[in-house]
Symmetry: C2
Subunit: 285 residues, 2 copies
């Protein structure tokens, strides 16, 4: 479906991600509309020719016209939108999302959704430390992963369309994972790292530490500057997978601490060698 | 003393740091000699005109000629060198070091040292992920901190000379701390961060994670590629300060985990806001 540029795409939530999607898709020739909270976002996007039309209202025509609807909202706002407004969607429409957690969202949406509309979930693994449509860019996705998380309820056609969307957007790596695999991966690679950064940043309030800081500490706390509203919601939405990763981390950290206590140099060196070896896998290719 | 370029400087341990020191000091016009383990390091340094003379032997003339001796060795090697060879030092010589831990080294050296030689300790807070004199550079210290850690045994003159050395080397920030303040600071900013990186890198061995990794995880594990010989020694040499920092971290991490378990969104948001606020202090100025 997606390759047919006569189809209409609606983006709900015109922020950094939604805006970047719009910018790229409109350039391919799709008709792109947007519904978002702030009129200033619509004004900016119209002025910059990022969208064809947009509104802050629940415009029945715009919603009813869309063949593909992309939701770029906070998880609970997305769920509420579907609960309240799914009646406005066109019969046969395909909907997708950008939500960073899957297990707690995908099944809930699919279970409540009309049978003539299909939801195929996706997570574009890209972000910046700035937000808003004003910071959107068509260069955001090179080198990044686009994860599609199908369930038994999805058709092969919808999965294919969603993967094609990821490739059109310029993602370097477009793959599928189950919602559970996705959540474990994201719990480890993204959420655990944010937990660590926030903890490191708040565990020692001694004054003047910043005068002596070097690159190591700066690297480990770059993401300690964090959107508290979004991340607290994402943590709770992925609670069980994240708690599991936090426990793995605590157990290993306590192992290291126990080795230091007894000055087990050989044990520490072995752990450091494994760390060095494993880190090589994660270099940028 | 140091401003008098007729004085002779000896560097013991011609690696990345020692080589960078030599390169800079020789350009100022000092006579720079080196004693190190590998003949290839001496050969390289002579060819590149980084030193005036050098040897892998315990050369009595070179050691006895030096007015300032800079030890760039592993902590235990430094202590052993002084134990075994301090008789060769010139009367009135000043010695300093680059050791990354202080409390467990400074008092030990000062207590055993001849009364006609003074040891003033310093920690140049700079490093790279490469090693060896071949990677030495005269641009390594811009933006970095040089910490002098005097004790009651040090003279004002030696402290002044050591601070002047730091400025000559190009460090942006030259300050003094007590050995204990230094060790707490380094335990938090440097050693704890390495403990965290190594733990994160080894706590989950699930395959294929690297396919999905993003910048957050890469940033937090950059220093997980680690020199196991050096860091295990540094950890043990700063054991009590590091254990204290590890405990602060674990306590805070467990607080966050407890909040997630009961879905205390307000508590998590408050912690994230403090994290965001405090991180701003640590930005590069």
């Amino acid at each position: 479906m997606i390759v047919d540029v006569r189809k209409k795409i609606l983006i709900v939530g015109l922020g950094l991600l939604g805006g970047s999607y719009a910018k790229i898709l409109k350039r391919f020739g799709f008709h792109v509309s947007a519904i978002t909270k702030e009129q200033s976002s619509i004004d900016y996007a119209m002025k910059e020719n990022i969208i064809d039309e947009g509104t802050t209202a629940l415009d029945k025509r715009i919603i009813g016209d869309a063949d593909l609807v992309i939701f770029a909202l906070y998880p609970h706002v997305f769920v509420e939108w579907i609960e309240q407004n799914q009646g406005l969607l066109k019969s046969g429409a395909l909907i997708t999302d950008v939500t960073g957690v899957k297990g707690s969202i995908v099944y809930k949406i699919q279970d409540m959704l009309r049978s003539d509309v299909e939801f195929i979930a996706a997570h574009p693994m890209a972000g910046r430390e700035v937000s808003g449509v004003e910071n959107s860019t068509d260069k955001m996705f090179a080198g990044a992963n686009y994860i599609v998380t199908p369930t038994d309820k999805n058709t092969a056609e919808a999965i294919g369309t969603c993967m094609e969307l990821g490739r059109l957007l310029g993602f370097s790596n477009v793959v599928t994972l189950s919602p559970e695999e996705h959540d474990e991966m994201i719990g480890f690679l993204s959420q655990l790292t944010h937990c660590i950064a926030v903890t490191l940043m708040t565990c020692n309030d001694k004054e003047d530490m910043e005068k002596f800081t070097g690159d190591s500490f700066r690297d480990l706390t770059r993401i300690a500057r964090i959107n508290d509203l979004m991340w607290s919601e994402l943590f709770v939405a992925n609670k069980s997978a994240l708690l599991q990763q936090m426990n793995l981390f605590i157990d290993k950290f306590n192992e290291l601490k126990a080795m230091l206590e007894v000055e087990d140099i050989d044990g520490m060196r072995e752990m450091m060698r494994r760390s060095t070896e494993r880190r090589a896998l994660f270099d940028k290719k």
